[in-house]
């Protein structure tokens, strides 16, 4: 069996610019409102008074780039009534647009909100890991796009060896839900899923 393919993101190298999101949209020609890759902005802390001056107390912020996690347990696949979702031998989870009936069950089931409805096409769509490029031996557009080289791509076990096993930075969900094929390298202030010290700041942009 081919090894499960995966993304990794180094949060310590992410500036939140969203070059990855735009590269994804450019490559996959996505309409406005459909963002296969998104960047979550998370922030916490408070302002406190010290020596008569206002100073930041543990104010922190970081950004998390996320797309479809091509999960080990793709719940989207389980709930699809049209059997339109499949997982390839290399682990890439794909939606067959000819079979999709656009019911959106997958979107509701996915804890990452990865499947998104494309109104122009009338079907669900999501990150396909740039499967056409991957089949040619190239890397997904988002991975190549990062000016700060924060992203990596390859077999999940290799990425884990290189970058660690962390897969659930806040505000992303618990990785036990679907066992995502992803590795995040945390920076010094990255919190784990379930953290309540901070807030998601850019819901409108997601």
């Amino acid at each position: 069996m081919t090894k499960q393919l995966a993304f990794s993101v180094d949060i310590a190298k992410c500036t939140g610019c969203k070059a990855c999101q735009i590269a994804c949209k450019d490559k996959n020609n996505l309409p406005i409102g459909v963002r296969w890759r998104r960047v979550f902005q998370y922030e916490g802390g408070e302002w406190i008074k010290q020596d008569g001056q206002m100073i930041p107390g543990n104010v922190y912020a970081y950004t998390v780039s996320a797309a479809c996690m091509h999960c080990e347990n793709p719940i989207c696949m389980d709930v699809c009534p049209a059997a339109a979702i499949s997982k390839r031998a290399d682990g890439i989870v794909l939606i067959d647009q000819d079979k999709c009936i656009g019911c959106r069950y997958c979107s509701w089931a996915c804890p990452y909100g990865a499947p998104q409805f494309n109104e122009d096409l009338g079907v669900m769509t999501k990150c396909n890991m740039c499967v056409d490029l991957v089949d040619k031996g190239e890397r997904p557009a988002c991975v190549e796009s990062c000016p700060y080289r924060a992203m990596d791509f390859g077999p999940l076990d290799e990425l884990r060896q290189k970058h660690g096993i962390f897969a659930a930075p806040a505000p992303l969900p618990d990785s036990n839900l679907t066992r995502p094929s992803v590795v995040y390298r945390p920076n010094r202030v990255t919190k784990s899923s379930g953290d309540t010290s901070g807030k998601l700041k850019n819901l409108e942009e997601l």
């Binding site: 610019c17 406005i32 206002m54 122009d120 000016p147 819901l203 409108e204």
Partner: protein
């Protein structure tokens, strides 16, 4: 310097073979439907690539972040299907000397920029009131004939001094397009009143010659720094490309360098660098620097010998002849100067909002960690007294022993290698008059009153003989959108008896374009062959390149290139032969450019070969250490300042005899519309207008992908928002006496209380009540030139914010 020049074969051999079939000049091909439902019925350049095959052509991002990043355009079946980052093979990339110029999100959105619905399609003439945006389609002949006849009329009635070539930065080709063709023509026509300075760095440019002159260590030298302190400098946003200043900072962090960021905002740069954040009250940086100097003196933490031998006016002993007693930096910080105030950390704490202990610990850290690089960016100098901090920070760099060493630096901007290639020759301007770039509205309203005196500081002549009657505005949105106080500028421009003729040559229907008398539609980078050189703003480190930007589609609609327009006007003005000087095509100009590059780089390819390979890169494996020779021997290797030393006390500035606003030593000067301005009671929030990640100035504001990715908003601290009942995402009203803007609030801990920030560059959009509903900060900024540079203080503003 050991230069490691090499020719980068950017494309694989198979692609090269396919590309050799291409005939770039011919225009046939079917209609190029942009997938996703957009079909402009465009013709693409003929290509002989088999159906379904992809070919990659290099193109560049030629706007004004300074990056000039490299892209490959993937063309398939006659359509640009997607973009790829710098196609230089990974094996030719050296992450420590010559990284690939991977574009940021802005460059990645270029397909949607090119095909934006706001593209201008045909030449237009104004039919309504100026600025109303009512136009009628005309032919190119009518447009060009009208411009030529107005040029002749205005020259005859007023003289060449009445012409102005407006500052703009939307396109930055080396050539043959860009600004040079029209500059060349207008100078052949007798010239025009020129400008000095820029909207980016007016105060920096004016003040730097009187402290260090020159430029800093090359950017990649940050890999040798142990500590880096950034004063402002949101490099990962402003210099975002994969080989630019932001990249080097991130690389330094990976290298283990500690970062401290002094900024009212926890910027994306401060966030990504995991920096210690020192949030300062805007406009008070010199108070902080003075107090840190004070700590270094009191605790004997500075290099006394260096300051005695390398600086002018650090203390009373090194004051130049003729300087009054107690006018040195030492006298200023120790309270012996005219103000008799000792610049202690406690004094500075009350001004800067930074606790005194923090100021002292920061001073100790800068003085003790070696090497330490102090960098200033340009945000802090786009303020009421922007000249002052520019001259202050190098003092700390000098005192702390970092001036002229690797990993340290002189406390100014980093530097980089310039690519040696000449563009189209532009003759000397026969008109000697030069105004400050920011003061063109005065040139329109009171040109004949403008003099070289304190108020206007025009150069080249003592006074102007005419006001501005003709403006050529090319690839620029500065006429309205990017200049301060839009409501004031609107009034000035609406009166067409003042400025009689305004030509705008643009690619988009920008707010500025709406004010044109004649509006000419230009081509974008996809639509013409051009050459770009990749040194950007010169802060990218010791690597550079030349890039062949390929024409990948035929010009859209009736859009034309800058070179063609200049040629057509030259013919109508009887200057065709002088303009062309034997250059009958774009190729001819590019041949000259290539020849000039070959003089510096013997292995630079022929034009034909350059087109094929697309990119020629050059790099050095050695960093430039600014002023190292001066450090070693200040007498033999003086700085290019008037005194040859680190000019803390400047006799040249003293000679202005404006000591309150142009002091001989850098000083903290409380700002108008700062927290001590009585206006603060009415408008209690400071407002900055910093650069936005989703735009290069105002370029890209109309791009749907970027608007979707990053929302325009005003940043406001959680405490200020709470007082006003504002929640994250709420629509708010931001206003002062100059105007009103409605936009969403971004409620965050990442900005100091009492400070707000509205990203610059949004295209203002007025509702029926004259309120901007897009979020353009220049509805609220003040037209108030800085004292020395006469530059733009667009970060110094007081406003009020209310929930809508």
């Amino acid at each position: 310097m050991t230069e490691n020049n090499f020719l980068t074969k950017t494309l694989t051999d198979t692609v090269l073979t396919r590309r050799s079939f291409l005939k770039w000049s011919a225009a046939v091909g079917g209609s190029a439907a942009l997938a996703g439902g957009l079909n402009f019925g465009l013709k693409t350049v003929e290509n002989a690539v088999a159906a379904g095959e992809e070919q990659v052509s290099t193109i560049g991002c030629y706007h004004n972040c300074g990056g000039r990043c490299i892209l490959g355009a993937v063309v398939k079946d006659g359509t640009v299907v997607r973009l790829v980052p710098d196609p230089t093979p990974a094996k030719d990339e050296d992450l420590r000397t010559n990284p690939r110029a991977i574009p940021c999100l802005r460059g990645r959105s270029k397909i949607h920029h090119t095909y934006a619905p706001e593209r201008l399609k045909y030449p237009l003439k104004r039919v309504g009131k100026r600025g109303e945006g009512k136009f009628e389609r005309i032919s190119w002949d009518e447009a060009l004939d009208t411009i030529a006849s107005e040029m002749k009329r205005i020259k005859e009635k007023y003289s060449n001094e009445a012409f102005y070539f407006m500052y703009a930065s939307g396109e930055n080709w080396k050539g043959p397009d860009g600004r040079d063709p029209m500059r060349r023509l207008m100078r052949l026509f007798g010239g025009y009143t020129d400008y000095y300075g820029s909207y980016s760095a007016a105060a920096y440019g004016a003040a730097l010659p009187f402290i260090t002159a020159g430029s800093g260590n090359s950017a990649e030298d940050v890999l040798n720094s142990k500590l880096i302190v950034l004063f402002g400098d949101n490099a990962v946003v402003n210099n975002a490309g994969g080989d630019n200043a932001g990249y080097w900072y991130m690389k330094a962090k990976e290298n283990g360098t500690k970062f401290i960021v002094v900024d009212p905002i926890l910027t994306d740069t401060a966030m990504a660098l995991e920096a210690e954040w020192v949030p300062i009250i805007p406009g008070t940086d010199v108070a902080l620097i003075a107090a840190m100097s004070h700590v270094m003196v009191k605790e004997d933490l500075y290099d006394k010998e260096f300051m005695a031998t390398h600086a002018t006016g650090f203390d009373e002993d090194t004051l130049p002849e003729g300087a009054p007693r107690n006018s040195s930096w030492m006298a200023y910080i120790m309270g012996h100067g005219p103000d008799k105030v000792e610049k202690t950390p406690a004094w500075a704490a009350a001004i800067t909002g930074i606790p005194a202990d923090r100021i002292a610990s920061l001073a100790r850290e800068i003085a003790s960690v070696k090497p330490c690089a102090l960098f200033q960016a340009w945000g802090w100098q786009r303020r009421a007294y922007g000249e002052q901090p520019v001259r202050a920070l190098p003092i700390l760099a000098a005192m702390s022993g970092n001036f002229g060493i690797s990993g340290g630096g002189p406390g100014i901007r980093p530097s980089g290698m310039a690519f040696k290639m000449s563009g189209m020759p532009v003759p000397n301007n026969p008109v000697p008059a030069v105004i400050s770039v920011f003061t063109w509205p005065d040139f329109i309203t009171r040109g004949k009153e403008m003099t070289s005196g304190a108020r206007d500081k025009i150069k080249g002549v003592d006074k102007l003989s005419s006001s501005m009657k003709f403006m050529w505005n090319q690839a620029g949105n500065t006429v309205i959108n990017q200049h301060s106080d839009i409501n004031l500028t609107t009034k000035i421009l609406e009166d067409d008896t003042l400025l009689e003729f305004l030509v705008t040559f643009e690619v988009m229907m920008t707010p500025t374009a709406k004010f044109a008398d004649i509006l000419l539609p230009g081509t974008t980078g996809f639509e013409a062959d051009n050459i770009i050189t990749g040194e950007g703003h010169g802060i990218k480190g010791n690597h550079a390149w030349a890039l062949f930007n390929h024409k990948i589609i035929e010009p859209m609609y009736e859009c034309k290139e800058a070179l063609w327009i200049a040629e057509q006007l030259a013919d109508r003005l009887g200057l065709g032969d002088e303009f062309r000087e034997g250059h009958m095509s774009r190729e001819d100009w590019m041949q000259d450019m290539v020849k000039s590059a070959q003089e510096s780089y013997p292995d630079f390819p022929s034009l034909e070969e350059f087109k094929k390979v697309g990119i020629y890169k050059v790099s050095s494996n050695k960093s430039t250490i600014a002023f190292a020779d001066f450090r070693a021997d200040p007498v033999a290797n003086p700085l290019r300042t008037p005194t040859g030393k680190i000019e803390i006390y400047s006799p040249s500035l003293a000679a202005y005899n404006e000591p309150e606003e142009i002091p001989a030593i850098p000083k903290y000067i409380p700002e108008w519309e700062g927290l001590s301005d009585p206006l603060h009671d009415k408008y209690p929030l400071m407002m900055e207008t910093t650069h936005f990640v989703a735009r290069s100035h105002s370029t890209f504001d109309n791009v749907d992908y970027l608007r979707e990715a990053h929302h325009q908003s005003i940043w406001i601290n959680t405490l200020d928002a709470k007082k006003r009942g504002i929640k994250n995402g709420d629509m708010v009203k931001v206003y002062n006496d100059r105007g009103e803007v409605h936009l969403p609030a971004f409620v965050t801990h990442r900005i100091r209380p009492s400070v707000t920030n509205m990203y610059q560059g949004a295209w203002y959009m007025l509702n029926a009540n004259g309120v901007d509903t897009r979020g353009c900060g220049n509805m609220l900024t003040k037209y108030h030139p800085t004292p020395l540079a006469k530059g733009n203080p667009q970060h110094t503003n007081l406003v009020q914010v209310e929930k809508l």
